[in-house]
């Protein structure tokens, strides 16, 4: 909820996630969810009795389970409680965070737990995504979640070598970050010296999108507990405050690309960022934020989207990557967790962005903690067909007074 429309402030007081992995044969879906829920309750020093409402999110039919929220009650702890199920595609993890914020801010509930989950090894991702396309003119043709158009665009704009190297540089940085995160699914131990070899050797999936550049398919769950300002202050020693969030999306079919001459490519990221920063009086997002947990389905998209999210021009985003300023100790650390390329249990993925951004503010990220103080964090979700969700997190509740950097003034 936009900050100035809020009935009351909302803080994050508990965070839990599973180890993300390609196979979790040892647990079924509710059991895996229970791991994340238990971890979040422990983190918040609460029990299920304290939770007023559960917001459940995952992908539609990815595990071939109808109404999973009911079945997952065994893991979410929703027995006898309010429980809401949300599914908005890849964004769902972020949407449940937004919904939880709205539910608490509205005054309906004091403490809400968002639970995102996926067990991609149990289902067939492309089979599920295929259903999104129009049966008459697109379903038989499309390639599920894989697309090569972004690589084509970047190569067209910046030349083949620079574009490919930027994408692979981003990929290697994410691998290094994932290596620091105990919960991350994939970390190969890639080195920058391997960059050119990887460009040549990694198999191509669609166009110039290579296997190693694509996100993983993971099993995992994440739970985040949101509380009203009063409860947050009572219960949490190091709360993280939700400042604002925005959701932007376009029509639910794939042929959006090239549909309009003025909008030949995905514009929802840029549009969302513009609106969010404008209403929060942030004119230099790259200066303002200390960390960005971005939903990066593939390294090509990630490199391109930096330009949209930070309102950059020309090749500023390429330079951020080339100069390794997106590394954990760089000017704008991107995904210290290793991001979506490192771990992707889809229904949890976007919620993990919020969780990881909040951990950075708390200083609790462990080995992948950014070595400088983190006051302002940004997290994004992507999915749907063309959905963008952005969420801003703050260390201090009175962020306007606490930090004037990048803020034009409090016009409240």
């Amino acid at each position: 909820m936009a900050h100035r429309k809020k009935n009351r402030n909302v803080g994050i007081i508990g965070i839990g996630q599973t180890k993300h992995s390609s196979h979790r044969e040892d647990v079924n879906q509710p059991e895996m969810i229970h791991e994340a829920v238990s971890a979040a309750l422990t983190d918040a020093n609460l029990t299920m009795k304290d939770i007023d409402c559960i917001v459940h999110g995952n992908m539609e039919l990815f595990e071939m389970v109808h109404q999973p929220d009911l079945w997952h009650t065994l893991g979410t702890g929703a027995y006898g409680k309010e429980c809401i199920r949300i599914t908005t595609g890849g964004t769902v993890g972020m949407t449940i965070a937004c919904a939880s914020d709205n539910l608490v801010a509205s005054g309906l509930y004091d403490i809400v737990m968002a639970v995102g989950f996926e067990k991609l090894q149990e289902g067939h991702t492309t089979g599920g995504i295929t259903n999104m396309a129009d049966p008459l003119w697109f379903r038989n043709l499309q390639t599920g979640a894989l697309t090569g158009s972004k690589a084509y665009e970047l190569i067209s704009e910046f030349g083949e070598e620079r574009a490919k190297r930027a994408s692979m540089m981003y990929r290697i940085i994410m691998d290094k970050h994932a290596g620091l995160n105990q919960y991350a699914h994939r970390s190969f131990g890639l080195e920058f010296e391997q960059l050119d070899d990887l460009i040549k050797s990694s198999p191509k999936l669609v166009g110039d999108l290579k296997l190693i550049e694509m996100c993983s398919q993971s099993d995992g769950a994440c739970a985040v507990i949101f509380a009203c300002e009063k409860k947050t202050k009572e219960l949490s020693r190091h709360p993280v405050w939700i400042r604002d969030h925005i959701t932007v999306h376009k029509e639910e079919v794939f042929q959006i690309f090239g549909y309009h001459k003025d909008y030949p490519v995905l514009q929802s990221h840029r549009f969302a960022a513009d609106q969010l920063y404008k209403r929060n009086n942030i004119d230099k997002p790259l200066e303002y934020f200390d960390v960005f947990e971005m939903y990066d389905p593939a390294s090509w998209w990630a490199v391109d989207w930096l330009r949209d999210f930070f309102q950059l021009r020309g090749d500023e985003h390429i330079m951020l990557v080339e100069e390794k300023e997106i590394m954990i100790d760089g000017k704008m650390p991107i995904n210290p967790s290793g991001g979506v390329i490192g771990s992707n249990p889809i229904g949890a993925t976007a919620l993990i962005r919020v969780a990881e951004a909040a951990l950075q503010i708390r200083g609790d990220a462990g080995k992948h903690q950014i070595p400088k103080p983190v006051k302002h964090a940004l997290a994004s979700g992507f999915g749907g067909t063309m959905w963008t969700v952005l969420m801003m997190l703050e260390k201090e509740l009175n962020w306007q007074e606490a930090d004037n950097g990048g803020i034009l003034g409090n016009q409240r």
Partner: protein
């Protein structure tokens, strides 16, 4: 435009979605399904916090969120139908050809039901509450269909199982505080094992009322043995002639007594000193002295002992059952002198007072054993407060059991068990089960008594324990 023309211009995309999936059952689910497959055993988990037994099992109790994954319990293969439906259409995804029954079955010992196919019974004969048991598949499919189906099961019968005391430590009389004092405080002593007596015949119940009533010595022996297996420590016997009439013939009574002792040597045999209607005092006591059972009934007052229509009040047989003070004295002395412990039958508080008057002569050995009898036409009807008044009037160290005619059998024995007393059931007193169906024998009524004892957490006495409690000498 006709409807047909409209349709002909409507293009329809015929599609088919293929959504393959795998499902990771988890460790708990894996144990459940592989145990069914490999051991033909159905397992559940019990929540240590709330006691709920889940079948199929789960890792977390959804009620209190407790981790319950390691608290396995093995359930039997039989259970009860708690709900069902009849599938009456055919479809590829269905496991059977219609019509077939899908039932929600709650296994014995489980708190949650699960669904399975119910076969070997016509759909119209399926009822909620019916007993069913699992039939395992001959060949595994690695699915829940490794239980092929459930089928109707015979009613739960304890006959094949061990006596209820199996596996527990034998009871011995401890250095217990005065029982009567405890009772007065309103705190019953339920620590003693409960003695269950099966009254096999009486003088009035006939085979035309319930075919399980024994007449011949062999039938008595068979029925007594079944009662012993079910949990009885003692049988109460009115011997019968072959035509079913109550008999005072010494040879027949001895033959009946000995047949029981031969078939079931440990069992206590308690003979009637009432025998039947119209018997003289001599006929009634001489057989006791001749056969010398371990125990015999001693009736405590002269009273109406009639057969009255309970609904209309119409008198069928009017009879006065004579038990004068002299008879109390002579019967009591004869029994004690011959090592036969009297079971003192009190049909009301007056009978109890009568025996306590005679007891002042001092020939009764302790402990005295009383039986409160309810519902005789001529005696008092069962009332909970009357029961407590009778119990409070007992002499020190006395034991009490109880029996009731007809439907009064169950409430009176339950109250007795609750108050630390003992229980008598059997076809002499009552020919029906609590649900109104005919009892298959006195043994089935003994099973009801055993269940009552189990519900109250009391152990069921072995014959030897009963002897210790009642002060009998084994013969």
């Amino acid at each position: 435009m006709s409807k047909k023309a409209e349709q002909s211009e409507s293009f329809i995309v015929e599609g088919k979605l293929a959504l393959p999936y795998a499902y990771f059952a988890g460790r708990v689910g894996s144990t459940f399904i592989t145990t069914i497959r490999d051991q033909k055993k159905i397992m559940g988990v019990r929540c240590p916090a709330c006691g709920t037994v889940y079948v199929p099992p789960r890792q977390v109790c959804d009620k209190d969120f407790t981790d319950i994954r390691n608290n396995w319990v093995t359930l039997g293969n039989s259970g009860t139908v708690v709900n069902f439906t009849v599938v009456r259409y055919d479809d590829r995804h269905l496991p059977r050809t219609a019509p077939f029954v899908l039932a929600l079955i709650k296994l014995d010992g489980a708190d949650t039901p699960f669904m399975h196919i119910l076969e070997e019974v016509a759909p119209e004969n399926v009822k909620i509450g019916m007993r069913v048991e699992a039939t395992f598949a001959a060949k595994t499919t690695n699915t829940i269909l490794d239980i092929d189906h459930f089928k109707p099961a015979p009613e739960k019968v304890r006959m094949t199982t061990e006596r209820p005391e199996a596996g527990r430590k034998a009871w011995t009389p401890g250095d217990e505080p005065e029982m009567q004092e405890k009772r007065r405080g309103g705190k019953p002593d339920m620590s003693t094992p409960v003695i269950i007596t099966a009254a096999l015949t009486g003088a009035a119940t006939m085979k035309n009322q319930n075919p399980a009533v024994p007449y011949t010595p062999a039938e008595f022996a068979e029925e007594a043995n079944k009662c012993w297996k079910a949990g009885a420590a003692m049988v109460h016997v009115h011997a019968r002639a072959d035509n079913g009439m109550a008999t005072h013939e010494h040879d027949r009574i001895r033959a009946t007594h000995d047949a029981i002792k031969e078939k079931c040597p440990g069992l206590i045999v308690n003979l009637s000193s009432a025998v039947g209607m119209g018997k003289t005092a001599e006929q009634r006591i001489s057989q006791i002295v001749a056969v010398r059972p371990e125990m015999a009934s001693l009736n405590t007052n002269t009273m109406n002992f009639s057969i009255i229509d309970r609904k209309t009040g119409k008198i069928f047989i009017d009879y006065v059952f004579e038990n004068t003070f002299t008879m109390l004295q002579d019967f009591g002395k004869a029994m004690e002198e011959n090592g036969v412990k009297p079971e003192i039958e009190c049909y009301d508080m007056g009978g109890l007072d009568n025996i306590m008057l005679v007891a002042k002569q001092g020939f009764f050995t302790y402990p005295m054993n009383f039986n409160f009898v309810w519902g005789v036409a001529g005696g008092q009807a069962f009332r909970a407060e009357s029961f407590i008044a009778m119990m409070n009037a007992l002499p020190p160290k006395a034991n009490f059991t109880t029996c009731g005619v007809g439907t009064e059998e169950f409430p009176c024995i339950m109250q007795s068990c609750l108050l630390g007393g003992h229980m008598r059931v059997g076809l002499e007193d009552n020919i029906r089960m609590p649900n109104g169906e005919f009892a298959k024998g006195s043994w089935e009524l003994v099973e009801v008594a055993v269940r009552i004892a189990e519900c109250l957490g009391r152990s069921v006495a072995t014959p030897d324990e009963a002897r210790m409690i009642m002060g009998l000498k084994k013969k």
